[in-house]
């Protein structure tokens, strides 16, 4: 893991930096060279992501030097206040509200209810009056090795001196891989391999392909960077890397609609970034650190205050915009269909998950802590997305736009399941008796549907690309009879359609079933019924696709259409195999793939901190 995690970012970045240099100097063969580099890089990524399954979870610290603990672990009122001191004059001091277990303050023996009135460092002889908690934190962070910080506390009317030496920790940016990371990394590398394979034939219509493969690699690097990162600002940077590459890819055809969609996407995404960065600023101001595990450690002890709620609201708005959840979904139906088909597959299949839902889930479950308010917001957003997305999809005649609306709807399932999981965990034993099982089930079902959606939505977008490549149109009214003309493509499209509508042997059925079970078990009968209803609507919508795209006789204008080239078939074949495999082999991959991923969210704050700091 030590070496493998950075490789997940280094490989695609290296490829991306090489491609324009080699590509633009390569003359007429530029696209061949770019293709070769991109294909090699994605194959290497698939191998590395499989390799991560054979290594134990561990944190890697990127940059910096070995340092000392900066975790004082003391939660109290911001600045000193006047406290009554029975028997003598009142003193100024900082009342301690809570102490983080395992931190420096806890080892020193501080307890909630103490009042810190003074401090001195190892070499000082006199106690100094304490002004604020932050002052203590600063002093703790600057201790020399072996030096001790002594604090004088007022406990039960008596003064005592407590001392503690700082523990060990490290500086730099954390990279962290657990079950969830492994699952997502595998998903990203397989889908992007299929997309690059598909691009080999599909992109031959476009000009200057070095400028296509370079952003594609950057997008993969960005998504891998998000998933393996253990640092709040680092996540933001890689979200921006992936987004910046995707703007260029959405507008790659440089036609009016594509540029317009790209501009809309860019503006809304820039607003989302502003919100996210404000949230990060608030978190840094409150906690003084950006490391996710350290923030989680504070969050275990501190009561959330208004400022923290504001940060959470900013995160929900920002990452909700990136994930295109319903109040913020306006850009997705324009941006995803406008991109070239393999890019649509990656945007819908991967990007909204990695830079939206994954980050939101990680922050809610592992970093900031689950709470009823956030859980209800997630459930509302999920349910709304599900319903609104599917109703908008049913009326569409543009094949790719229809698929894009279904992306909103299907991601609604994921967010709903995660929201139900968060609600059950937030209520804890006070809620339903089997809260552990139900919470775990809801999280696992949500993550399973996330992976399934990556498989079948990418497959559907690739098959739409295959149709567009041969016929030049994606208007369902002008299409038809593809079952005769393009039998393999139609076969793959059918597998994708059956999976997304939740027909039994395929993966979509199992994940939707699990979601319905979890939602109903958690006591939300109405939401369960809604989930089933939306699934039925999805089936209807894809029956329409079946009717107008595959069945019937081809119109006269499409009489010369042939099956699409081999690389496209192979790419779709891989994803179709994934759709069937994820469904049929559920008992097999449950223990190795899905359960560890769900476990890492289910362990919440304590589990995450423990896993990062190693014990």
């Amino acid at each position: 893991m030590q070496q493998l995690l950075p490789l997940l970012v280094v490989i695609p970045l290296g490829a991306a930096f090489l491609i324009p240099m080699v590509g633009l100097l390569g003359g007429k063969k530029e696209w061949r060279i770019s293709e070769a580099i991109a294909l090699l890089a994605t194959v290497a990524l698939v191998l590395v992501s499989i390799g991560t399954f054979f290594c134990p979870s561990a944190a890697v610290w990127i940059g910096g030097y070995q340092g000392r603990s900066e975790l004082l672990g003391l939660v109290g009122s911001g600045s000193a206040v006047e406290v009554p001191n029975p028997g003598s004059a009142p003193q100024r001091g900082v009342p301690v509200q809570e102490v983080v277990p395992g931190s420096v303050a806890a080892t020193a023996g501080l307890r909630a209810g103490d009042v810190v009135v003074g401090w001195r460092r190892g070499s000082d002889t006199e106690m100094r009056p304490v002004q604020s908690v932050n002052e203590l934190r600063r002093q703790n962070a600057t201790l020399e090795p072996g030096e001790q910080l002594v604090v004088r506390v007022l406990r039960d009317g008596q003064q005592r001196d407590l001392s503690a030496a700082a523990g060990k920790s490290v500086t730099g940016i954390a990279m962290f891989g657990d079950g969830l990371t492994r699952l997502l990394v595998l998903m990203i590398s397989v889908v992007s391999f299929a997309a690059v394979l598909f691009s080999l034939s599909y992109m031959s219509d476009y000009t200057m392909l070095a400028l296509y493969y370079c952003p594609l690699m950057l997008m993969i690097a960005g998504m891998n960077g998000i998933v393996v990162s253990g640092d709040l600002f680092n996540i933001y940077v890689f979200v921006e890397v992936a987004a910046m590459a995707s703007y260029a890819l959405v507008g790659f055809g440089v036609e009016s609609e594509e540029l317009e969609a790209s501009f809309k996407y860019l503006v809304l995404s820039a607003v989302a970034s502003g919100f996210i960065l404000l949230g990060i600023g608030i978190i840094y101001s409150l906690r003084g650190t950006l490391n996710l595990a350290q923030i989680a450690d504070y969050a275990r002890a501190a009561q959330p205050n208004n400022a923290l709620w504001l940060a959470v609201a900013f995160f929900v708005a920002g990452f909700g915009l990136k994930a295109a959840m319903v109040p913020f979904h306006a850009w997705l139906p324009d941006a995803h269909p406008s991109a070239p088909a393999p890019v649509s597959a990656m945007l819908s299949g991967l990007l909204i998950k990695a830079s939206g839902v994954y980050v939101l889930a990680r922050l809610v479950f592992n970093v900031l802590g689950v709470s009823l308010a956030v859980a209800h917001v997630l459930m509302a957003m999920g349910a709304l997305s599900m319903v609104v997305g599917v109703f908008l999809a049913v009326g569409q005649w543009d094949f790719k736009r229809l698929l894009a609306y279904h992306s909103i709807s299907q991601m609604g399932y994921v967010v709903l399941a995660l929201g139900v999981g968060a609600e059950v965990l937030a209520k804890g034993p006070a809620g339903i008796p089997a809260w552990k099982t139900v919470g775990f089930l809801a999280i696992a079902a949500g993550l399973f549907h996330l992976v399934n959606h990556a498989a079948f939505k990418s497959l559907l977008f690739l098959s739409s690309g295959s149709v567009v490549y041969r016929t030049g149109t994606r208007d369902l009214k002008k299409l038809g009879g593809m079952g005769q003309k393009m039998p393999l493509t139609s076969f793959f499209a059918r597998i994708g359609a059956l999976s997304i509508s939740g027909v039994p042997p395929f993966n979509g059925f199992f994940s939707k079933l699990l979601i319905v079970i979890a939602v109903v078990w958690a006591g939300h009968w109405l939401l369960g019924a809604l989930t089933v209803f939306v699934s039925f609507m999805t089936l209807l919508s894809f029956a329409k696709v079946q009717r107008y795209l595959i069945d019937g006789d081809p119109p006269a204008s499409l009489s010369g259409v042939r099956e699409s080239p081999l690389p496209m078939q192979v790419a779709m074949g891989i994803l179709a195999a994934a759709c069937i495999g994820l469904g049929v082999l559920l008992p097999l991959h449950m223990s190795g793939l899905l359960a560890p991923a769900a476990q890492s969210l289910f362990d919440q704050l304590a589990g995450y901190t423990k896993a990062v700091f190693g014990g």
Partner: protein, 149 residues
């Protein structure tokens, strides 16, 4: 782009050396004084941009067209990645692979000066290349419009 008047050209010719020197200075002493690779890179790009504005886009085309600018930019990016990847020798990505030197000298502070140079190269070449590309686009657009009229 035709360029500007003789006065602007003369002043630019006099100033350009100093601006470039200042840019290099900011890049190289980033670990000692305010500034660093990014600010220096933008200054370098702005200096080249001044040449283009004063003398027209053709003045630099032979020495630094926009394709060549991309190559320089990629080189800068690869350099940054390579310094990071050399850390694999010492353990992991971005680990310190040589002992840092202290004091007010040019090549102190571990890998920081090398990273500064890489960033400066990347940003300078990249921004300038983008500006050249914009200028070239304006040219083709204008030509297209004149044909159309």
């Amino acid at each position: 782009m035709r360029g500007m008047t003789l006065i602007v050209k003369t002043i630019t010719a006099l100033l350009i050396g100093f601006i470039l020197l200042f840019g290099f200075c900011v890049v190289l002493t980033g670990h000692l004084t305010p500034g660093g690779g990014f600010a220096g890179g933008v200054i370098l790009a702005a200096a080249l941009l001044l040449v283009v504005l004063a003398f027209g886009a053709d003045a630099l085309k032979e020495r630094l067209g926009h394709n060549l600018a991309v190559v320089w930019e990629s080189l800068g990016a690869i350099g940054f990645l390579a310094v990071g990847a050399l850390g694999f020798i010492a353990g992991t990505f971005f680990a310190h692979f040589f002992a840092p030197k202290t004091g007010f000298v040019l090549f102190a502070a571990g890998s920081i000066p090398y990273l500064n140079v890489a960033v400066g190269l990347k940003v300078g070449a990249g921004l300038f290349g983008a500006f050249l590309m914009l200028a070239a686009f304006r040219e083709t657009e204008r030509a297209g419009r004149e044909e159309g009229d």
